[in-house]
């Protein structure tokens, strides 16, 4: 297989059951998934459908009860905690709903830290950070602390942090879940922009507007994939876009 035909991410037969206080919760019940290089995939579904658990499995934040995951063709079955942490530093960037920034580090340090941990020189780390923050419209905020920023700004810092090591895969778990409509649009615009440049993205969201930025939407229900639809190349429809915007008569 040529390098491009190896999926960035592949999962087979993933199963995850949460054993809490009540009855066991079957969060993920047999998921096969393949994400090609450069693809932007959104996973949507009601809350409690298991989509966040699925994303956590894909990022090694939780381990499946059954099934396997391959990153760039490498099987992760034997990966321990430490190895997954390395993957999350280099191969997988993750953004979360509540940003998860380090609150007592400056914006600049939050972004530079993963670069330094991955072995970049301080000079390289600073250059990457400067470029990303400028790109995300945060130039001038680098000395600020996360708590001084708006939610939308914090999520942009989190995005910079996730992308500072140029990971082949970006995972986003409800990245606009705690943002207002304006912040949602902003996140949408930025994800689209990085995707246009070739970034592979897997996004979990209950927000259909956000999902529509992706070129493939997976509907997740009750721990299973209910539908997997490519959005481009769909046949033209009768009403479609003009139908929802037009002035009658």
């Amino acid at each position: 297989m040529s390098e491009d035909s190896v999926p960035v991410l592949r999962a087979e037969g993933l199963v995850k059951t949460h054993h809490g206080e009540g009855a066991p919760a079957h969060a993920v019940r047999g998921v096969d998934l393949s994400v090609a290089r450069g693809e932007f995939v959104a996973i949507t579904g009601p809350s409690g459908a298991g989509k966040s658990t699925l994303l956590h499995l894909l990022g090694g934040l939780q381990r499946p009860d059954e099934g396997s995951i391959w990153l760039d063709g490498r099987c992760t079955d034997s990966f321990g905690e430490a190895r997954w942490a390395v993957e999350r530093r280099k191969a997988i960037g993750i953004v979360f709903q509540f940003f998860n920034l380090v609150s007592n580090l400056s914006v600049a340090d939050n972004v530079e830290l993963p670069a330094l941990l991955a072995g970049a020189s301080p000079k390289q780390a600073r250059a990457e950070r400067e470029a990303l923050l400028a790109e995300l419209g945060l130039a001038g905020k680098e000395r600020g602390m996360p708590g001084e920023l708006s939610g939308g700004e914090q999520q942009r810092v989190a995005l910079a942090r996730a992308l500072v090591n140029h990971p082949p895969l970006l995972l986003a778990d409800e990245p606009a879940g705690s943002l207002d409509s304006k912040g949602t649009r902003e996140v949408m615009r930025l994800l689209s922009r990085f995707h246009a440049r070739g970034q592979t993205i897997v996004l979990v969201t209950h927000d259909a507007r956000l999902a529509s930025a992706a070129d493939r939407v997976i509907s997740f229900f009750d721990g299973r994939i209910a539908d997997d639809a490519a959005l481009d190349g769909a046949p033209p429809r009768r009403a479609g876009i003009s139908g929802v915007l037009e002035l009658k008569d």
Binding site: T44, G45, P46, S181, R185, M188, R189, S192, D207, A208, R209, A211, S212, A213, V217, S219, F221, D222, A226, D227, A229, L231, D232, A234, R237, G240, I241, S242, G243, V244, L245, E246, L247, K248, D249
Partner: protein
């Protein structure tokens, strides 16, 4: 369209092509291809019903153009328009009837229907987000129109999700 044209004429007389341009400017790319033919037809109807009056204006090297102005009846119609509230968007639509009747007919599967409908909504949603990204950000009216369309679709998608949860 009828009332929108009347409202544009409330500012002063204009001819058909000007009105088309005004609509384009107001709604930006969010207004799908204002069809000048449709505008002339509508103006004709408005004139027939006495809400506007047209006046031929001679042009040196071109055919006459018709400049329209609002009549008193037209102004009254606008007052009524602004006074009234609008109907809610439809809830019980064709899709709902398909969903409700599918099991009895044995001709279609509810989940398949939902998935198909969701694909269409998502594709339209995607076109709308592209339109929003392409539209001038300073055109607030156009942006609000697109955002409104997206929020309606989002509600439809949420409802499909509820249907799927209940019916699966």
């Amino acid at each position: 369209m009828r009332l929108a044209l009347l409202a544009l004429l409330a500012r002063g007389p204009a001819h058909g092509y000007e009105l088309k341009q005004d609509l384009e400017q107001l709604l930006g790319s969010a207004y799908p291809q204002p069809n000048v033919g449709q505008i002339y037809v509508t103006l004709g109807r408005l004139e027939k019903s006495g809400l506007i009056e047209g006046e031929d204006v001679e042009q040196s090297s071109r055919p006459n153009k018709k400049v329209y102005h609002l009549t008193d009846a037209g102004r009254e119609a606008l007052h009524v328009w602004f006074e009234e509230t609008e109907d809610e968007p439809r809830v019980r639509d064709e899709f709902f009837m398909k969903l409700a009747l599918a099991p009895q007919t044995g001709l279609a599967d509810q989940i398949t229907l939902i998935n198909k409908q969701r694909r269409q909504y998502l594709t339209t949603m995607r076109s709308l987000s592209k339109l929003a990204a392409a539209e001038n950000r300073d055109n607030r009216i156009a942006q609000l129109l697109i955002e409104g369309a997206m929020l309606h679709l989002q509600a439809d998608l949420d409802w499909l999700e509820r249907c799927q949860e209940e019916l699966e």
